[in-house]
């Protein structure tokens, strides 16, 4: 397979989109900060005070050694420690599907942040559907690169699933962006019907009502 189509100019497109949504001067918490790519991007491009939580100690240590503010922590367990509206933005990029209790996590995100930005791979993309339909096997794609028996993604969902989950949670979807297979912005509206079939990744900006 060639280079990850969801990466452009050496960076993940969803991260660049997330960074562009953040007002300079904000206080930002990146939940599941991984190797610190978004934190580095934010440090380099936005005047923000940003921190990360990362579950892997290796990722944390590497991040801190690069001068990032990162703590070891688990989105499922440790978000309860953070103060209500302690941050302007709380970001959960490509991590929701790996959490044990996604709805609880989303509740915590909108509690801690004035805004929450959540991105995840859309499990209802037509290629994913086609893979199951024609091969009868769990899909392995650029956004879902793991075999079923080794994937950390235990709660995969579609865009529709996510929107349905947020109903009745007392949150407002302020913005929705869909990315196509090549990481290009394909749709941005608040009724993501067609996106559920065509989008490879989804990005939501939420706030608590």
């Amino acid at each position: 397979m060639s280079a990850d189509p969801a990466r452009q100019n050496g960076g993940r497109v969803d991260l660049q989109l997330i960074a562009s949504m953040i007002e300079p001067g904000s206080r930002v918490l990146d939940v599941g900060s991984g190797d610190g790519e978004l934190l580095r991007l934010l440090n380099a491009t936005r005047e923000v005070d940003c921190r990360g939580i990362e579950i892997s100690q290796k990722g944390v240590n590497a991040g801190v050694a690069q001068g990032l503010s990162v703590v070891q922590g688990d989105a499922d367990k440790d978000l309860v420690n953070y103060p209500t509206k302690g941050f302007d933005y709380v970001i959960l990029s490509q991590t929701l599907q790996a959490t044990r209790a996604p709805q609880k996590v989303v509740r915590e995100l909108v509690r801690i942040g004035r805004r929450a930005i959540i991105s995840f791979p859309n499990f209802a993309h037509w290629r994913v559907r086609a893979r199951i339909l024609f091969t009868g096997q769990m899909p392995v794609t650029p956004t879902l690169p793991f075999q079923w028996y080794e994937t950390p993604n235990i709660h995969l969902c579609s865009i529709d699933d996510f929107v349905n989950m947020t109903k009745g949670m007392g949150v407002t979807i302020e913005k929705f962006i869909a990315l196509d297979w090549h990481g290009k912005v394909s749709m941005t509206n608040n009724t993501p019907a067609l996106a559920n079939l065509l989008a490879a990744q989804a990005l939501f900006l939420l706030r608590e009502d």
């Binding site: 944390v60 240590n61 801190v64 690069q66 001068g67 990032l68 503010s69 103060p83």
Partner: protein
């Protein structure tokens, strides 16, 4: 005006005292230190060492807070032991605490025995060593004394306060008592309170000292004896807590000392016994037994959240200091769980915090040893903090 170490400026309230551990900053009777126990301590000597150069903005000072039995000689040659300083691997040109970039300060804690006022100092009321008439001190008192020194050195804000173990307690206390004076803080292998188990270990050590007939109710300096046996046992017990089961096993196993088979007696049959005896006997050459009582007591009394109704997050509310909390996997004296409590409290206060747990078999003492990940963490954290502070890069 920079104070020239070793130069006596002639003042009574503030000046340099003569000592083999010079420079020593002296605060006279008109500048006493009010201790937590209510006593005004004066005169107050603070023996300290500095490394590197304070920049014109006075913004590059790092205060190192030393652990229980260590002292201000972090690098260079120790005047008492003749050995290299205890953090020589960490402090120096090009090292993580880079003396080409930072101005490093380390002061002997009050209650200590390497030049700062403590139980071996002369009690002005009697003209004889304090012994047990020395007031009981706290971690907060140590920090207040250091704050007087830092102020006397003309430094408004420390770029960083860093330390491990009891030094880490001081780091936390600094961030609590003087948040505006601490730009960044690195508490290593420490806790926000001293646990019951750790108090218990300290009590064993103190009882060993006090059970030694040569302790003489703490008056040994006036009676020309030294409770060396008791102090050595205290050190042996404590030293075990600084290591780990795995480290002891790897280093000694059940290996015998200078013999083919067990001796059916109570000599040091095993290497680990011989090692501990050596640790005990070298320790008594450089440390005072009463100091050991006072400093362990100060650690026992440490509970940072006590003034905040036991809620540690309250202690850190509004903190602007950048924190880097570090623990080691095999440290059972100050386990990672206790660092995690600090981190959780800092998170609850939405403070800027990094937290690294380092994989190591070396136990509590890992912070003193060659741990590449510790070095990488400190370099990364300090570089980023220095950029935020506007400190220039070297070279």
């Amino acid at each position: 005006m920079a104070l020239d170490p070793g130069k006596d400026d002639g003042g009574i309230a503030l000046g340099q005292a003569e000592s083999r551990y010079a420079p020593v900053m002296r605060f006279g009777a008109d500048a006493p230190l009010l201790l937590d126990c209510g006593v005004n301590l004066a005169p107050l000597d603070i023996a300290y060492q500095t490394y590197g150069t304070l920049n014109a903005q006075r913004s590059n000072a790092i205060l190192i807070c030393h652990a229980l039995t260590l002292d201000q000689y972090v690098t260079g040659i120790h005047p008492l032991t003749g050995r290299t300083g205890w953090w020589n691997i960490m402090v120096g040109p090009g090292k993580p605490l880079d003396t080409d970039r930072y101005f490093i300060i380390c002061a002997n804690v009050i209650g200590g025995c390497i030049g700062s006022t403590g139980p071996t100092s002369i009690n002005p009321a009697t003209g004889r060593p304090y012994g047990l008439s020395f007031p009981v001190i706290t971690i907060g008192d140590m920090v207040n004394a250091q704050a007087k020194l830092v102020e006397a050195l003309g430094i408004e804000q420390l770029f960083c306060v860093i330390g491990g173990s009891m030094g880490g307690m001081q780091v936390l206390q600094w961030a609590y008592d003087y948040p505006e004076k601490v730009f960044s803080a690195v508490p290593i292998a420490t806790a926000a309170l001293h646990s019951a188990q750790n108090i218990a270990f300290h009590e064993v050590g103190r009882q060993a000292i006090m059970a030694d007939p040569d302790w003489r109710g703490g008056d040994y300096l006036n009676q020309d004896t030294r409770p060396e046996k008791g102090l050595a046992v205290a050190r042996m017990a404590a030293h075990i807590t600084y290591l780990s089961e795995a480290a002891l096993h790897e280093k000694f196993g059940r290996n015998l000392q200078d013999r083919e088979k067990i001796g059916f007696g109570f000599d040091a049959d095993f290497q680990v016994e011989s090692y501990l005896r050596h640790q005990g006997s070298t320790f008594v050459e450089r440390f005072d037994a009463n100091s050991y009582l006072y400093l362990t007591r100060a650690m026992d009394y440490f509970d940072l959240a006590a003034e905040s109704g036991g809620v540690l997050a309250e202690a850190f509310r509004g903190a602007k200091t950048r924190f880097c909390v570090i623990s080691f996997t095999s440290d059972w004296l100050f386990p990672t769980s206790e660092s995690r409590e600090i981190v959780q409290a800092l998170n609850a206060a939405a403070a800027n915090v990094s937290f690294v747990e380092i994989e190591s078999q070396k136990g509590h003492d890992a912070f003193l040893l060659d741990e590449p990940e510790l070095f990488a963490t400190l370099r990364g954290f300090l570089n980023a903090a220095a950029d935020k502070r506007g400190l220039k890069h070297v070279g």
